[in-house]
């Protein structure tokens, strides 16, 4: 078992190449630029294409073209660039084309800053583009998972013929950790639906336009059925010390790692705490949350955003238990002590609304 000490942003590129991805189209942006730079180094070595596009709009459309031509392809960016890609993502999903998009989230809205946040949840998980579509979203919390989930993203993208997004915060993108890469590379699966420039695929049609209402509705139903299948089988999560937990914390990405330590420390103090970490953000592991809601007394959701994933938790819990929410933003990351303090409070009165201004408190009311 050989491990390599590597940055999250670089691990993505190596994993993509091992997964049979042969083209990368991207535009630099902090804190995702290392992905573009690593792609510039590795893709030519693997006989693949690297192109620095003139913008993220161009990147996603190059990906659109490469995917239609039957190639495993990808791009990477951060919030502002992902915003620009939304039109293309909608067309890719509408045309049922697989591709992988990596979002290393930074602070927003607008220019915000380049520090880590989790505030792209809405635009990535709920779909920032127009129309009825879904994207598969994977949320790594370590450099090893940057490798593993990128690999998986390519498979899921192909399985469902749909864009898959690997979304993480700037921390996981920038940090270095030992990673064990797969020792064998795979080839992209055959794509009989693509337009491959041969006689067999001449009649294939890749499109998202259906002018007649009936045809478009039928297309939407077909997509829905596909999403329903993914929604009932692809959910991934980590449940840590949740079996007897009375307070279950929920967080993804960097937050889940801090929460894990806080949970251990709370346990030492005799508080029955646990951690539930969604690994797929779509499909969201709502059924599992529903199940643990049977025995836990309350939930505590922590996000580096002012409350985006918490909506999905609340839907899953469906009012059966209090869902407390704690947030940091602007690139601030809570310390273990800070989260432990919150955990203690939640375990005592099982409801806190920390860091929420009065108007937001109204909004987040029970």
């Amino acid at each position: 078992m050989t491990k390599e000490l590597i940055k999250g942003n670089e691990a993505v590129v190596k994993a993509a190449i091992l997964a049979g991805c042969r083209s990368f189209y991207g535009y630099p942006i902090t804190p995702a630029s290392e992905i573009t730079e690593a792609a510039a180094r590795y893709f030519p070595l693997a006989g693949g294409t690297f192109l620095q596009a003139e913008s993220e709009i161009a990147s996603i459309n190059m990906v659109y073209g490469a995917a239609a031509a039957g190639e495993r392809t990808m791009t990477a960016s951060s919030g502002p660039g992902i915003s620009l890609m939304q039109e293309g993502i909608s067309y890719l999903a509408g045309s049922e084309l697989p591709c992988v998009i990596v979002d290393i989230t930074r602070g927003g809205p607008g220019l915000g800053n380049i520090a880590p946040e989790q505030s792209d949840y809405h635009q990535v998980v709920k779909g920032g583009g127009h129309g009825n579509y879904r994207t598969i979203v994977l949320a790594p919390n370590s450099v090893q998972e940057m490798c593993d989930l990128t690999f998986l993203a390519f498979d899921l993208a192909d399985k469902y013929r749909n864009p898959a997004i690997v979304m993480t915060d700037g921390f996981i993108g920038q940090m270095m950790e030992p990673v064990e890469f797969p020792t064998t590379s795979v080839e992209a699966p055959a794509r009989p639906w693509a337009v491959l420039g041969n006689a067999e695929t001449r009649n294939n049609l890749i499109t998202s336009i259906y002018m007649s209402p009936d045809e478009l509705e039928a297309h939407q139903r077909h997509l829905e059925a596909k999403y329903a299948r993914a929604n009932r089988g692809e959910e991934l999560f980590e449940a840590y010390r949740t079996d007897d937990a009375e307070v279950i914390t929920i967080g993804y990405g960097i937050v889940s790692r801090i929460l894990k330590t806080a949970v251990d420390q709370a346990r030492e103090m005799g508080i029955k705490a646990g951690l539930f970490r969604p690994i797929t953000l779509w499909p969201f592991p709502d059924r599992q949350i529903d199940i643990i809601a049977d025995w836990t007394k309350s939930f505590m959701v922590v996000e580096l955003s002012n409350g985006q994933m918490v909506d999905d938790v609340r839907l899953a819990v469906n009012g059966r238990r209090p869902v407390n929410f704690y947030s940091r933003g602007g690139g601030n990351v809570p310390t273990v002590d800070e989260l432990l303090g919150q955990l203690i409070k939640v375990s005592e009165d099982s409801y806190v609304r920390e860091n929420i201004s009065e108007s937001e408190e109204l909004f987040w009311g029970v």
Binding site: P28, T30, S33, A40, R41, P44, E54, S55, E56, L111
Partner: protein, 366 residues
């Protein structure tokens, strides 16, 4: 960011001297305002790397501004994103730090909302020519009175050294480890193609020339474009060195002067001769060449063809031209817009908005 960088006390000192004017942002009809270079400086810490060419451009703009006699509140600097785009923070005028590539569009909105403002756009080679390429073209094409300065360092500075649309073919950098295979674009060619009515070029290390060009740009009415060769000493040091260093400049650069023959060299004994469309370097006194064979520069020519040819001259084949390539007058967009508004009012009379909107075929439902 949008800010009024006015420094309170300085503002008060000058209020008495600033007579309020509303017409013309270019100096006409303005009561003289006695400001100094210092009045255009801000208390913001300048965050460019020591030795960066941007400092020189800032200094020259701050030197020219007081000479224009325009009150600071009638001036606005608008930028996109990049090192160059930090410029508005350092100007004690109104300023907007907007979206990567979008400054020309933003500036269009500002200028049309408030035509009395003198509107400057500060942009970089990536900002203007890659992600913002289309906005750049269309702002120039419309002949809106915008003063666009492009800091061309042939690199993405802010994101730490990836190639830009002006990077030389084959240049090695972070996103092109084996050298770029993207043919560079010539910003001047683009400006000509977009029918800019003022096109000029200067460089950071010739402050005298630079300030003259800034002044010319300031006085032009219509879409003006100034390219400034700017050294990024951190990520692309010396990119213009081969021709613009003091010791070689005389022989490798040529300063355009309106109505004068295109001469260069220490003794001004070399010149540009054009036969048909290809320029040629000739030596006066050799092979019967006289001053009459030298092309006379005409920046006011309505057809930009000759200027376009000059704009494409590159070292080492040719001396690199600096100066005003084109300065022609056409009605500006805002003048024509205003013309149409006045015309409709003169035809139908100044009216009542509610009456106008309700003047169509309306009916009442009882």
């Amino acid at each position: 960011m949008s800010h009024s960088g006015f420094n309170d006390s300085a503002e008060k000192d000058h209020m008495s001297e600033i007579a309020h004017t509303t017409d013309g942002a270019n100096g006409e009809g303005q009561t003289a305002v006695k400001l100094t270079r210092k009045d255009f400086q801000t208390d913001q810490e300048v965050r460019w790397c020591p030795g960066c060419g941007d400092y020189s451009i800032l200094a020259q703009v701050q030197k020219v501004m007081p000479e224009l006699g325009i009150p600071r509140e009638n001036i606005v600097f608008i930028s996109g994103i990049g090192c160059s785009s930090r410029f508005p923070y350092y100007m004690n005028t109104y300023g907007f730090h907007t979206i990567h590539g979008r400054a020309p569009a933003f500036a269009t909105g500002v200028k049309l909302a408030n035509p009395k403002l003198q509107v400057w756009v500060i942009t970089g080679d990536g900002d203007a020519l890659s992600i913002g390429g289309n906005h750049f073209i269309h702002a120039l094409r419309r002949n809106i009175d915008l003063k666009i300065i492009l800091f061309n360092n042939r690199i993405y500075g802010l994101t730490k050294g990836q190639y830009s649309p002006t990077s030389e073919l084959g240049k090695k950098n972070k996103s092109a480890p084996m050298g770029t295979i993207d043919y560079p674009i010539n910003p001047l060619s683009m400006a000509f193609a977009a029918e800019a009515t003022f096109v000029a070029r200067s460089m950071d290390i010739d402050p005298k020339h630079l300030s003259t060009m800034i002044e010319r740009l300031a006085h032009h009415k219509g879409s003006g474009f100034l390219e400034v060769y700017q050294n990024c000493n951190i990520f692309n040091d010396g990119t213009f060195k081969s021709f613009n260093e003091r010791e070689v400049r005389d022989d490798r650069m040529i300063y355009l002067e309106n109505g004068k023959p295109l001469l260069f060299g220490k003794n001004k004994d070399k010149g540009i001769h054009i036969d048909k469309v290809k320029p040629e370097i000739v030596a006066i006194g050799e092979n019967g060449v006289t001053i009459d064979d030298i092309l006379v520069h005409d920046e006011n020519a309505l057809e930009p063809n000759l200027s376009y040819i000059l704009g494409r001259m590159q070292f080492p084949e040719y001396p690199v031209p600096m100066g005003v390539f084109r300065a022609v007058h056409k009605p500006t967009y805002e003048q024509m817009l205003h013309g149409q508004v006045s015309k409709s009012i003169s035809i139908s009379g100044a009216g009542d908005i509610e009456k106008l909107i309700n003047a169509g075929e309306t009916w009442e439902i009882n």
